[in-house]
């Protein structure tokens, strides 16, 4: 019997740890102390060719998505959902900066990004940089990506399909996964703003 109680105690502690670990990912208004270590400083170049850092976005909410412009299926779906959510918010959207950080800096130059972001929303900012700068930004956001060669010299990118909502202080608030539509994003923004 003593071992049974011990086993239950161990299980209870394990459960508590599991809940503590999962909670920040499920709860949108989690205390900052529990927030996962996502985000932080970056040095990139925006679609107008201007060098930018995290500081340029301070004071605004950010919606951060890592993708690439030669991604015709998943990325436009995400960008469209972001654009729709911002339109749904109306004037309040002025406090939100949607950002697409490319995982394909080789092809996604500022000019290519400028042409791309214009298709979705006037507030959408495209960010690129040197491969090292992009890698550093992806590391900060715990985003993974890899180049996958296809036939005839073409390639596609595997990448984490996550949209992050970051607060005006640059801290992680919550994230959305592929499949969360404009309604979920707009509802979360309303709550956060």
């Amino acid at each position: 019997m003593r071992y049974a109680w011990l086993a239950m105690a161990v299980a209870a502690v394990a459960l508590a740890f599991a809940v503590a670990r999962l909670a920040p990912w499920r709860d949108s208004d989690v205390a900052a102390t529990n927030a996962p270590d996502i985000g932080g400083a970056f040095e990139l170049v925006d679609h107008t060719g201007r060098a930018v850092t995290q500081a340029d976005f301070a004071g605004d909410f950010m919606l951060v998505y890592f993708g690439f412009t030669s991604c015709p299926d998943i990325c436009p779906t995400a960008m469209q959902a972001v654009a729709q959510a911002l339109d749904d918010l109306g004037g309040k959207a002025a406090r939100v900066r949607p950002v697409l950080i490319t995982v394909d800096p080789e092809r996604d130059t500022p000019a290519v990004l400028a042409d791309y972001v214009a298709n979705f929303h006037p507030r959408l900012v495209g960010l690129t940089g040197t491969p090292e700068q992009v890698a550093a930004a992806a590391r900060a956001y715990k985003v993974y990506y890899a180049k996958v060669p296809s036939e005839e010299g073409d390639y596609v990118m595997d990448h984490s399909a996550i949209l992050y909502l970051m607060g005006p202080d640059g801290r992680y608030i919550r994230h959305f996964t592929h499949g969360d539509g404009a309604d979920e994003i707009a509802a979360a923004l309303r709550e956060a703003l």
């Binding site: 412009t69 030669s70 991604c71 015709p72 299926d73 998943i74 436009p76 779906t77 960008m79 469209q80 959902a81 654009a83 000019a111 290519v112 400028a114 042409d115 791309y116 214009a118 298709n119 979705f120 993974y144 996958v148 296809s150 036939e151 005839e152 073409d154 596609v156 595997d158 990448h159 984490s160 399909a161 996550i162 996964t177 592929h178 499949g179």
Partner: protein, 150 residues
């Protein structure tokens, strides 16, 4: 061969061929407008198979250097896009190619795909052979086919 027999044979053949191809019904072929200077775009169709088992095995279009069938696999939150050899079409099945799922990936666009325009798209089936349809271009982030009537 007697003329009557020949006529019957031709009649049977012309009746049989369209019926065979007609077992595969391709509905609402559409594509997303290409975003910016991008050289890739995705096309989607709904395929209803009214006949025996078949499979979609390829695609081609004059607006792209290559068109391949692509699928997605999610590993956690990692999105992996990969070419697929065939899309099985069981008898009576309707398969929908849609954003976030299987799509026809067009590489090396020869021109920008602009919303509202159309372009020829040829789909190749294991049994039904090559069937050409006209795809309509929808918005850049459209979730479904344009609403234009068919």
């Amino acid at each position: 061969m007697k003329p009557a027999t020949l006529a019957l044979a031709i009649g049977l053949l012309t009746w049989w061929i369209p019926a065979f191809a007609g077992d595969i019904d391709i509905r609402q072929p559409w594509a997303r407008a290409s975003a910016g200077a991008g050289k890739t775009a995705a096309a989607y169709v709904t395929i209803a198979n009214g006949g025996a088992a078949d499979a979609l095995i390829g695609a081609a279009t004059p607006v792209a250097a290559r068109a391949t069938l692509h699928g997605h696999r999610m590993d956690g939150d990692m999105m992996r896009m990969r070419p697929i050899d065939r899309v099985a079409l069981a008898p009576g099945a309707t398969v929908i190619l849609a954003p976030g799922g299987i799509h026809i990936m067009m590489f090396g666009l020869t021109r920008r795909l602009v919303e509202g325009e159309t372009f020829p798209l040829t789909l190749t089936f294991e049994n039904a052979g090559a069937l050409q349809v006209t795809a309509t271009v929808a918005g850049v982030g459209a979730k479904g086919p344009p609403h234009a009537g068919h």
